[in-house]
């Protein structure tokens, strides 16, 4: 296998090498990347520019296998202007360093596009110009904490084993002072993240889990430093730094990121970067950001309209599926306004821009409140932890009252040791490790969560809203049904051969459906954009097309896309093409209903499929012809009724709803495709396992509850020592790591067991 790949690659490489003057051809027009010649664009995209070097990083979503790495890292052999290229496979990025005197940015991009890796360059990159850097601080902190913790522990052992009596002159003091020195970086460097987030929480008056933890750390270290400096004891620095170390591990473990996925895209990522404008009757390519009102732009077949504009010339057939979710392209006449985000499905168009891209309809939608409003910050603590804090504080209070009468001098030591031993760290460890495990298990099963909080909100949801097209239907598969006069075999063959001539989506689906083997020759083939196709098979004229193609009436409202077929001069019947529902969708609905979820459906399409859908959804919970704003307000309404809403959708038309909902899950059929801003991304094939995913998220709460009870047991033991004033450093040093390790292994094992039971 490896040899095969390697051979393929080498062949590929030699092929390329034999054609020195590589020209961008075939798949794209050479003018498409013309905007890259613009100096300003280069400056925004590159990290570093000087006379002989330009460093730049491209995102290549098409990268998928080991051989891609080989090809991309050998770019310097294909084109001498490229000095070095280095791939980061998981991020699907390539770093390229080239010599601007030998090759231009445009040539580099064209080369990449030519070998099949067209870089994804978005307006986002242009705007920010920032490079995401791997977060190394977390690993630094982990390393430092691990080093200090293990050395402190080692230096504390002699004392514990000798019962606190070390006769050697000066040895005990030396140990203690080394421990003191080692604990400083733990407190001031490794734990700084915890203090920062606690401080932020305090400032926002938001009780997050880091506040009690920061408090416990401060008390532990303060008391230990006091004991060391006053010479009264050796403190709890070993258990204190141990806890910080374990917590850092927990955070690192929970922080599972998917490099190649992005959860925070906005409309800018969808728009084309360059646009052709007409200036003095000449076509010129400029970056979209430079587009101004009254500019005349040229839109070709399959290009996206970057700004709201009037039609000046040409026939428009606009596919707004991107904005509205409606599948069928809409014809538009001269003088009508086209909204940004639509795709031209017909020939060349000349438009006059009437609003700048940042002011267009779709952008406005994005700028609505929901989009700028940040999601409320979840405290992310188990509900019991509130009681835990209350109980803990009352125990501290009661024992301080008791010691006030028994021995006033011991109040402070006792209270502080209660707070030290009962720190809520074990709570945090429970959640971080359980959720970290679950994130990984979800990821293996193609549900990629943005962060661990999503697991909590997912299990809290009680209403699920689905989008239709692309979500519960499979965009890549369709069901075709023929109605009309029976077709004979030669007729089928003719129709199939005719549609094979066209590259239209419907024609291709038709060919697949008819699959009559070898095709016959079609002469005089004509394609009428947006209407239909015709041709001659022998002496017989045949045609395929929409209803309007054959009769001058307005297109009737049909259930799905219909393609009428004419053979000779008689219309024989029509093929009805619908998107197929995903496999097992009925099962999913059943099991979700069985678990008591309220299901809703929002569709941008017309109500043609109402009958089919009513089998799955309550009639009053189905909403057709919903535009993006409707979807958004629909979700808002549900939330106003106190429901926790999970939205499952795809595409930009659901973007508002995804963001507004408590959990927005974007469906993605190709890993290389882009998804709108959301909380989670699910692979199309995994959609029908949603019920299992939710059940698993719910069982997370169960795992946490169990681990929580175990940690409370440890706390009871520790506090019972502390209230009596008997908490020696050795007991703390045994209890804390023991409880941490028990909880870590418990949550890992339980999550694994439940996942296996659900065959994840």
């Amino acid at each position: 296998m490896y040899l095969l790949l390697n051979e393929n690659n080498l062949c590929n490489y030699y092929d390329l090498d034999k054609n020195p003057g590589i020209k961008a051809k075939g798949k794209f027009k050479s003018s498409r990347f013309a905007y890259l010649d613009d100096e300003g664009v280069l400056k925004k995209l590159a990290h570093f520019i000087d006379a002989t070097h330009v460093n730049i990083t491209f995102s290549l979503p098409q990268m998928h296998c080991a051989s891609c790495v080989f090809l991309l890292e050998n770019l310097h052999k294909i084109s001498p202007g490229i000095v070095r290229s280095q791939v980061h496979f998981q991020k699907k990025e390539v770093f390229i360093s080239y010599d601007p005197q030998m090759i231009t940015l445009r040539k580099v991009v064209e080369l990449l596009a030519f070998i099949g890796y067209e870089p994804y360059i978005s307006l986002d990159d242009m705007k920010e110009g920032t490079v995401k850097k791997f977060d190394r601080k977390q690993i630094f902190a982990l390393g430092v904490a691990g080093f200090c913790f293990s050395n402190i522990m080692m230096l504390s052992f002699p004392q514990y084993f000798s019962g606190g009596i070390i006769d050697e002159a000066g040895l005990k003091e030396t140990f203690i002072w080394i421990i003191f020195g080692l604990s400083l970086p733990v407190l001031f460097y490794a734990a700084s993240g915890i203090f920062e987030s606690a401080y932020k929480g305090l400032r926002q008056k938001n009780l997050n889990v880091d506040i009690p933890i920061a408090l416990a750390i401060v008390i532990t270290f303060a008391r230990s430093y006091y004991e060391i400096i006053s010479g009264t004891g050796s403190g709890y620095l070993d258990s204190g730094s141990g806890i910080i170390f374990f917590m850092l591990i927990g955070r690192w473990f929970q922080h599972k990121s998917y490099d190649a996925l992005s959860f925070d895209r906005d409309y800018l990522s969808y728009f084309p970067l360059g646009v052709t404008i007409l200036k003095n009757e000449k076509e010129e390519m400029i970056p979209v950001t430079k587009l101004r009102v009254n500019d005349r732009i040229v839109i070709r077949h399959d290009e996206m309209i970057p700004a709201d504009a009037n039609i000046i010339h040409g026939e428009a057939l606009i596919d707004y599926s991107f904005v509205t979710g409606e599948n069928n392209p809409v014809p538009k006449q001269k003088g009508e306004i086209l909204f940004a985000g639509g795709k031209q499905k017909s020939g060349r168009l000349i438009l006059e821009v009437c609003k700048e891209p940042s002011q267009s309809y779709i952008t406005q939608l994005w700028n609505k409140e929901t989009f700028s409003e940040k999601k409320k910050f979840d405290s992310f603590i188990h509900p019991w932890s509130k009681y835990f804090t209350i109980v803990l504080l009352s125990i501290a209070l009661i024992s301080s009252v008791y010691w006030y009468f028994a021995d006033t001098a011991r109040i402070i030591p006792v209270v502080s040791s209660i707070l030290i031993v009962a720190c809520p760290c074990s709570l945090l460890l429970t959640t971080t490790f359980t959720f970290g495990n679950m994130l990984r298990i979800f990821g293996r099963n193609k549900l990629y969560l943005k962060n661990a909080i999503v697991i909590e909100t997912m299990s809290a949801a009680n209403t699920i809203v689905f989008d239709k097209t692309g979500t519960i239907t499979n965009a890549r598969e369709s069901v075709i049904h023929y109605t009309g006069e029976c077709l004979t075999d030669p007729e089928r063959k003719m129709i199939s051969s005719l549609s094979a001539q066209s590259s239209h989506v419907l024609s291709r689906q038709l060919v697949k459906y008819l699959s009559s083997g070898d095709h016959i020759a079609i002469e005089n083939f004509k394609e009428y954009n947006g209407k239909g196709i015709s041709g001659m098979a022998g002496s017989l004229s045949i045609a395929l097309g929409s209803h309007a193609f054959f009769e001058d009436k307005k297109q009737e409202r049909s259930a799905a896309s219909r393609v009428y077929a004419r053979v000779g001069d008689q219309v024989k019947g029509f093929f009805e093409i619908r998107n197929a529902y995903r496999d097992h969708f009925a099962l999913l609905v059943e099991s979700l209903k069985g678990s008591g979820y309220e299901l809703h459906l929002l569709s941008g399409d017309n109500d043609a499929e109402r009958k089919t859908l009513e089998q799955y959804f309550e009639p009053e919970n189905i909403c057709f012809n919903a535009d993006p704003a409707d979807k958004l307000s629909y979700i808002k309404n549900l939330q106003a009724q106190g429901k926790k809403v999970m939205m499952v959708g795809d595409g930009l038309n659901d973007a508002g709803a995804l963001l507004q909902s408590d959990v927005g899950i974007a469906v993605n059929d190709h890993t290389s495709a882009f998804t709108p801003a959301c909380d989670a991304i699910i692979d199309g094939a995994a959609v029908t396992r949603l019920a299992d995913f939710i059940a698993f998220a719910r069982s997370g709460q169960f795992i946490i509850t169990i681990s929580f009870m175990v940690s409370i047991l440890y706390n009871i033991v520790g506090i019972s020592f502390a209230v009596q004033g008997l908490l020696s450093p050795i007991i703390a040093a045994i209890l804390m790591p023991a409880s941490s390790i028990t909880i870590i292994s418990l949550s890992t094992i339980m999550a694994g067991m439940i996942a296996r039971k659900k065959s994840f």
Binding site: L10, Y14, N74, V87, F89, R136, I139, F147, L171
Partner: protein, 72 residues
């Protein structure tokens, strides 16, 4: 040597020697551990943890002679 015949002096010397060995060991152990920590921090800073997948692929590719690939 004469001074070792004096038991009091020998005891003191022993005492000092025993103690300083421990101090020396502690010092060495911290230095060794510290050098490992430094090595670790250096490797992180050097970017060795930034990408944990691509290098494993890269190592499998054979080096092709850079001079003239058409000879093969």
């Amino acid at each position: 040597m004469q001074s070792f015949n004096n038991s009091a002096i020998a005891d003191t010397f022993d005492e000092i020697f025993k103690m300083s060995v421990l101090f020396l060991l502690i010092g060495i152990s911290i230095i060794v551990a510290g050098s490992f920590l430094t090595a670790f921090l250096w490797s992180v800073k050097n970017g060795q943890y930034d990408d944990d997948y691509t290098p494993s692929v890269r190592i499998l590719f054979e080096e092709t002679p850079k001079t003239n690939p058409d000879n093969i």
